[in-house]
């Protein structure tokens, strides 16, 4: 990778991490989703008395999904079926915040024009900014996953006396679906960056990604749609393909006149 491209990536990441309010907004949502939410779920599972309806629900599950106790089975379901859907909000949010700062924030502060007078092609500047948003999003997602895993496993161990099994869904989610939705979010921000006059305005584009996710959450909770590993894999591939198409289109539309509009 070109040294100048690396320099822009580093600068863009520093631009977020050195801005306390922006960086906090980037951390609060992952903390709520990966620490607070699973804690509430696991405490509820542990302290709520046995419910015959829950028993019936567990009976419907295949034997392979059963653990040594109903408590652990439900906690395992939360970790491997409920949390992934919530978790997807993190890469979308992180890449949106980062892309909004990198593309629209720079336009708003008139620093993007200065960058355009550099010896980099517009394509290189575009790639550097997409990469910065993507890498930041992946770093936040991975860190969030590790924190979530640590908290849930520790909690399960101390409350229920055993660790929770981790499904292969997480591997698909971290390696395929999260990167794909991150890139889709970035392209949506870039697309809106020509019209948006402020970072906040441009971040609204991410709502279009959050909405299907909300439906997925509802589906998971109500049992209407249970995302299996195969379904997740297909969904990931579809999202990766969509991200690739959207990225190519965004790069083609990224012209000097569009940037300075």
């Amino acid at each position: 990778m070109n040294q100048a491209v690396k320099t822009i990536i580093k600068k863009d990441i520093k631009g977020i991490t050195s801005n306390r309010s922006l960086f906090l907004s980037l951390l609060i949502v992952p903390l709520v989703l990966t620490v607070l939410l699973p804690c509430i779920f696991l405490f509820a599972v542990h302290f709520v008395p046995d419910d015959p309806d829950i028993r019936k629900l567990l009976d419907l599950l295949p034997r392979s999904a059963w653990s040594s106790s109903p408590e652990l089975t439900i906690s395992g379901l939360i970790l491997n079926y409920i949390m992934p859907v919530f978790f997807l909000i993190i890469p979308i949010m992180a890449s949106s915040v980062m892309a909004a700062s990198s593309f629209v924030g720079e336009k708003e502060k008139h620093t993007l024009e200065t960058l355009l007078y550099s010896p980099l092609t517009l394509g290189q500047i575009f790639r550097a900014k997409v990469l910065a948003s993507f890498l930041m999003s992946m770093a936040v997602s991975l860190a969030s996953f590790l924190v979530m895993l640590l908290f849930m496993e520790l909690e399960a161990f101390f409350l229920m006396g055993s660790l929770l099994p981790l499904s292969a869904s997480w591997l698909i989610l971290l390696c395929m679906l999260s990167p794909a939705v991150s890139l889709i979010a970035v392209t949506l921000i870039v697309r809106g960056s020509a019209r948006a006059q402020s970072m906040e305005e441009s971040q609204q584009a991410a709502v279009f990604l959050i909405l299907p996710l909300v439906l997925l959450v509802v589906g998971q909770f109500t049992g209407v749609l249970l995302v299996s590993q195969w379904l997740l894999l297909v969904l990931s591939l579809a999202c990766a393909l969509l991200a690739w198409i959207l990225l190519r289109r965004a790069a083609a539309r990224y012209t000097y006149e569009m940037v300075l509009k």
């Binding site: 040294q3 100048a4 320099t7 822009i8 600068k11 520093k14 631009g15 050195s18 801005n19 502060k109 008139h110 620093t111 024009e113 200065t114 960058l115 355009l116 007078y117 550099s118 010896p119 980099l120 092609t121 000097y256 006149e257 300075l260």
Partner: protein, 316 residues
């Protein structure tokens, strides 16, 4: 080879605004060319076109032999640009900003640090180098922008209102620096400003534009001889005799010339300074008491306003 060549350039924005119309000019290497006109005349548009940020609607451009529309990044590698809208990062210090742009231009870290120090010293920013840009005044930001545009030692410098917001001393230092760059390093400077007096101090050549049209172009001497060939002879005298008759506002003959503009101050228009000795001799011979004689040449401002007046008359 010319450093910059503009041939029949025109630019019309998508909303129909004609920003530039049929501009033709060429800059030789080492020239400091003032591209002068009021706000909205098309100066910034020209800078953007010359850097490939905008594409022309008609005509052609060449910077250091390259077409800005085809190879903008190659032009950027050899040119420096300062515009009002090209800002730097508030969250970085002055020096960090320079090092960042040096790295983007492919300069090694040690070389970048040396160049940044030299520029910060030259632009009187050394004391503020470790302060965040957010604490810089407008003048300091402007000087840092100039340092940023010079960090890669460009061959051509495009400056759009480089002294706006500068105090008189800083503006003078910037002027000296620009002139030195042209004279010692052969840097071609394309200077856009509406401050004609400031331009007259440093430019070797002038292009006067209004509403996207080039009104005139040339050195000050050429512009004077073409547009306002007369100069003003101002004499301060205790007693001014009648020189071939009193002033007659309706008459512009050589003999009937002096007008008293204030008590003891007299003015007349002359074509060349060769006429001065004869006029002075005539006054002295007739008993006039001359205290001072001043030959006032038309300034760039006078020339500009004369040109715009001609334009207005032509459009009526």
């Amino acid at each position: 080879m010319n450093a910059v060549t503009i041939t029949h350039l025109s630019k019309t924005y998508p909303n129909g605004t004609a920003a530039l119309q049929d501009i033709t000019l060429a800059l030789r290497p080492g020239e400091v060319c003032g591209f002068l006109g009021p706000n909205g005349a098309g100066k910034t548009t020209t800078v953007k076109l010359l850097n490939g940020i905008l594409t022309p609607s008609g005509g052609s451009l060449s910077v250091l032999g390259m077409d800005p529309a085809r190879e903008p990044e190659k032009i950027h590698a050899r040119c420096g640009v300062v515009t009002e809208h090209a800002q730097m990062y508030d969250n970085l210090t002055g020096k960090e900003n320079l090092l960042f742009y040096a790295s983007v231009f492919g300069i090694s870290p040690s070389e970048a640090a040396d160049r940044a120090d030299a520029l910060l010293w030259e632009l009187d920013l050394l004391n503020a180098q470790d302060k965040k840009l957010s604490s810089y005044s407008t003048g300091m930001r402007q000087r840092l922008s100039l340092a940023r545009a010079l960090i890669h030692r460009p061959d051509v410098l495009f400056l759009d209102e480089p002294t706006s917001g500068l105090d008189p001393e800083s503006a003078r230092n910037v002027n000296l620096m620009i002139r030195r760059l042209a004279e010692e390093s052969g840097v071609t400077v394309f200077l856009c400003t509406h401050q004609l007096r400031y331009a007259q101090e440093i430019c070797s050549r002038y292009c006067l534009i209004e509403k996207g049209m080039l009104l005139a172009d040339g050195t000050l001497k050429e512009l004077r001889s073409r547009i306002l060939p007369d100069t003003v002879l101002r004499i301060r005298a205790g007693h001014m005799p009648v020189i071939a008759g009193q002033y007659d506002p309706g008459q512009h003959s050589r003999e009937n010339i002096f007008q008293e503009i204030s008590p003891g101050h007299y003015e007349t228009h002359i074509r060349s300074e060769e006429e001065i000795p004869a006029i002075v001799r005539q006054i002295a011979e007739k008993g006039g008491l001359i205290y001072s004689v001043e030959n006032i040449q038309p300034s760039l401002e006078d020339i500009y306003f004369a040109l715009t007046d001609i334009q207005k008359e032509a459009s009526l």
